[in-house]
Amino acid sequence: MPVYSLEIIVVCLGLLMLLIDAFANLSDKRTIGYFGVLGLLVVIGLLFSVEWGSKDAATSVFWKFYAFGDTKSLFFKGIALVSTLIVLIMSIDFAPIVMAQTADPEEGAHPQAGLGEFFALPMFACAGLMWMASANHLVSIFVSLETVTIAFYIMVAYLRRNVGSLEAGVKYLILGALSTGFLVYGMTWLYGMTGSMELPEIGKILASGEVNRTGALFAFALILVAMAFKVGAVPFHNWIPDVYQGAPTPITAFLSVASKAAGFIVFLRITALYLSSGALVGKVTVVLTVIAVLTLIVGNFVALPQTNFKRLLAYSSVAHAGFLLMAMASAPQGALKENAMSVGDVVSFYLGAYLLMTMLAFLVLSALRTSITGENVGSFAGLAKRSPFLAIAMLISMTSLAGIPLTAGFFGKLFVFKLAFDQEQWVLLAVGIIGACAGFYYYLKIAASMFLSEAPAGGTTTAIRVSPAAGIAMVFLMIAIIVVGINPTMMMNLLR
């Protein structure tokens, strides 16, 4: 089975879910969600059985927009699928809140009207993300990116009776549209300078040096703006805290993991073209370094005083974007030693680890949301006594995000630091270390709140119920974080 059939299957699954929603008279629409979960599990299984570079397709003119034989794209498809799977599991638990915030005053409507789409939309976004992972052509990058973004516009503003969600939706829409404009304009310049839309071709032309440097750099700057917006790099990160806070929790998780991962693979693809060009690499590295330093500083330090957990995770996601940019700014030039990790490997590994730990944090948060009002860090007080399982899950997620050894997050940071060290990026290293120190504080603050503070008097002390699917997902993620933290080969093998 060729690789691209995976995306087709996911789109069909999404369409099928919409059809079931419209025509099958379900009493409980959460069944659609479970259907989606099962479908995605099958697709994840298929991921391991796809044929790699089916030769006919790779050489045919039609499939030129698609990268074949690139293991990294398969890894990113995996990230998209797993995060969509977990998002669906979260969404099923989140359904009561969605219903409460979208309830239709009309009489006679289905009590769960509007819930089916909430499960179907992530599927379409997922298909877009998977395609983005293989996009090899400017137009295909643009179309897949828009498929994802438009699905997100709807999902972010899904809670239409909730002002916060609507505010987040509007902000995301306006800034997203603006960044799309920059992207298209940048692509036009790139096409104008090189005369090609295909990335390999563009790479060859840029590397040959027979190109107007100013024009090519201008194109890079424009694309950089758009990509910095997608991955949440400073100074284009302003939307992140508000949108993360306002969006429904499962969608926030989706945004912070899948959308960021997809943004990074496109960013990486386009940047790689410039990094392989001897004439342009110096300037591009400087720009990336400046952005990485800013992102590390702002992300880590603004996270320190945050009290709302979703905002804290938003700044943490900015901070992690900083570490990823640090890796990209330290791209080794020239041939790699055998077995050494390329920038692509490091970034992919980091994002894989980031998926595990961030999704775990959001799973716990959405489980808590059903019984704890408010998302303030203080409202987790005494959780360790009330629900030890959730507290331990959160603790593992936080230690990994903070980058403490024997967790997946540590290896992510270690690889980045090593790369920066080899390239003698001293400023970046210093800022990265300081940022990681700050991370110790704000991530452990969550743990401190759960373990060291007493629950407010008079609150309920009954254990919080966790749905079986979410429980299984949490256990899986916890084990994965620790196993990858002890032996990262498991994840590296998926990259090769």
Binding site: K385, P388, F410, K418, C437
Partner: protein, 510 residues
């Protein structure tokens, strides 16, 4: 599964079974006893080729023939090869015994489940993980896991002090120690990455790294710049002056077993790192920075010694004294001589046992009187004679009186510093002379503490208490017995150190 893997993994497995509902205290004790038995089996002489000069090499196949070689559990390819591998030589043998003994005593002396406020499971899991972290760090032959195992203790320490600590400031103290040690580890990590990059090494295996370093002939200047972050990183973890301020409060506010484990065992990790990693790989870097180390260690001994005298509470005084004594170990390492380094490792063992003993006793006093202020205590020898007697022994050990291991170790450290003395006083000799005054300082504060608490008039308004019970006495006897045994026969430990350090000193060239 080799015996070393059992020693490291047994406490971790025990922690997991407790999380799944096994009885906390019983499981922990079984694991600690199991570890101690395995450790002693490993140390039995029939596993070594004992020749006239002592133990020459280890005959267990996985101990390696020339000393510190590990048996791999698994490999991590790619980023310079990392492998989880455990191995042992004389230095790690001594520290393994220290960890096993102190962990056993710490878990033994922990309160019964129903006496713990809060989750007793969490209490014992954290204790086990702290011990396992130290043990893993001492037995890993891979630089990466040496570092990672030490970090295993970080979060449990945070939780233990924050939840089960004593005093109103415990949460603040928990934060201080965690952030301080976290920063120290990150600086250390930077140093380790610098080592890897500087050597252009393909592996994290410590013996191979030393071999690569010997061949590479890195310049002194480069070595110094790599040694500096290692020194600061390890220094923060050992509470080297002026990076010591986390330690006294942390030990004062920590629950008894954590104070014992941290001051007794975990803090030795930084010293172990210097002896095992930094000095053999970067001998010239160490040489270039010797004077800096000497100044800092005199700070440890003299300045912090005087600060110790000024303390008004027993637990804080012990915290400062434990920081102060690290200066002697640094002196032994900085001397660069064979005898000084043997003394340093022996002192790590002696200090670990004696400070654990002191914290165990001060914890027992705190449980009884609720306060450890010298002003509020007095004349207790009449009320609790056994505690008084044992505290006296512990205090004498800490001062370094003959008959205790501390004496043998400190004498070797001082002799080591004067070994190459040729009539001209260099910085090393001056530092040693100043350090000798430290012995006087320790005598002053220890004896004063003993007199204030146990001698004189019985203080007024003290609650009626009973003397030490057997659950407290036995672990204390264990620690004291170890100190006396190795104090009278230090050869018991030195025979392990001799071959290991001879090999290492060749690497250092000293």
């Amino acid at each position: 599964m080799t015996i070393l893997e059992i020693i490291v993994l047994l406490p971790i497995l025990a922690a997991i079974t407790i999380a799944f509902g096994a009885p906390a205290r019983a499981t922990s004790l079984i694991a600690a006893i199991g570890v101690a038995i395995c450790a002693f089996v490993t140390a039995m002489p029939n596993h070594f080729n004992v020749s006239k000069e002592g133990v020459s090499n280890f005959s267990f196949q996985y101990f390696g023939e020339t000393g510190f070689q590990g048996r791999k559990v698994f490999d991590i390819d790619g980023f310079p090869d990392i492998s989880l591998a455990f191995g042992i030589d004389g230095i790690s043998m001594v520290l393994m015994l220290l960890t096993a003994i102190v962990s056993l005593a710490a878990i033994w002396i922990s309160p019964k489940e129903d006496a713990i406020k809060g989750s007793s499971k969490l209490y014992y899991i954290c204790c086990l993980l702290i011990g396992a972290g130290a043990m893993g760090a001492f037995l890993s032959t891979d630089l990466f896991f040496l570092y990672a195992f030490h970090e295993l203790a970080l979060i449990p320490t945070f939780l233990m002090i924050g939840i089960f600590g004593v005093g109103a400031n415990r949460v603040k103290t928990a934060w201080t120690i965690t952030i301080y040690l976290g920063v120290g580890s990150l600086i250390l990590l930077l140093g380790l990455i610098a080592t890897m990059s500087g050597l252009n090494a393909e592996t994290f295996d410590i013996p191979s790294l030393i071999a690569v370093a010997r061949e590479s002939g890195m310049e002194q200047q480069a070595q110094m710049w790599i040694y500096l972050p290692l020194l600061i990183g390890f220094g923060i973890l050992v509470s080297l002056f002026p990076f010591h301020s986390w330690a006294p409060n942390a030990y004062a506010d920590a629950p008894t077993p954590v104070a014992m484990l941290h001051a007794g065992v975990l803090k030795k990790f930084g010293l172990y790192g210097l002896i095992r990693v930094a000095n053999p790989i970067l001998p010239q870097g160490a040489e270039a920075l010797t004077n800096l180390i000497l100044i800092l260690l005199v700070g440890n001994i003299i300045i912090l010694g005087l600060v110790t005298i000024a303390q008004k509470r027993l637990d804080k005084m012990l915290g400062y004294s434990s920081v102060m004594h690290m200066g002697y170990v640094f002196l032994g390492i900085a001397s660069g001589t064979y005898i000084g380094t043997v003394g340093a490792v022996l002192l790590m063992f002696a200090h670990g046992i004696s400070i654990a003993l002191l914290f165990a006793l001060s914890g027992a006093l705190r449980d009884r009187y609720g306060s450890l202020e010298f002003a509020k205590l007095g004349g207790l020898a009449k009320v609790i004679p056994a505690a008084g007697l044992l505290f006296g022994f512990a205090a004498f050990a800490s001062i370094g009186l003959p008959g205790f291991t501390n004496f043998a170790a400190e004498v070797m450290v001082f002799f080591g510093a004067f070994r190459d003395f040729d009539g001209t006083f260099g910085p090393l000799q001056w530092a040693t002379i100043l350090a000798l005054w430290g012995v006087v300082i320790s005598a002053v504060y220890m004896l004063r503490a003993f007199r204030n608490i146990f001698k004189g008039e019985l203080a007024a308004k003290l609650p009626k208490v009973s003397d030490l019970n057997w659950a407290e006495k036995l672990p204390i006897f264990l620690l004291l017995g170890t100190l006396l045994l190795t104090g009278f026969v230090p050869e018991l430990l030195i025979k392990y150190l001799r071959p290991a350090l001879e090999g290492l000193m060749v690497a250092v060239g000293g």
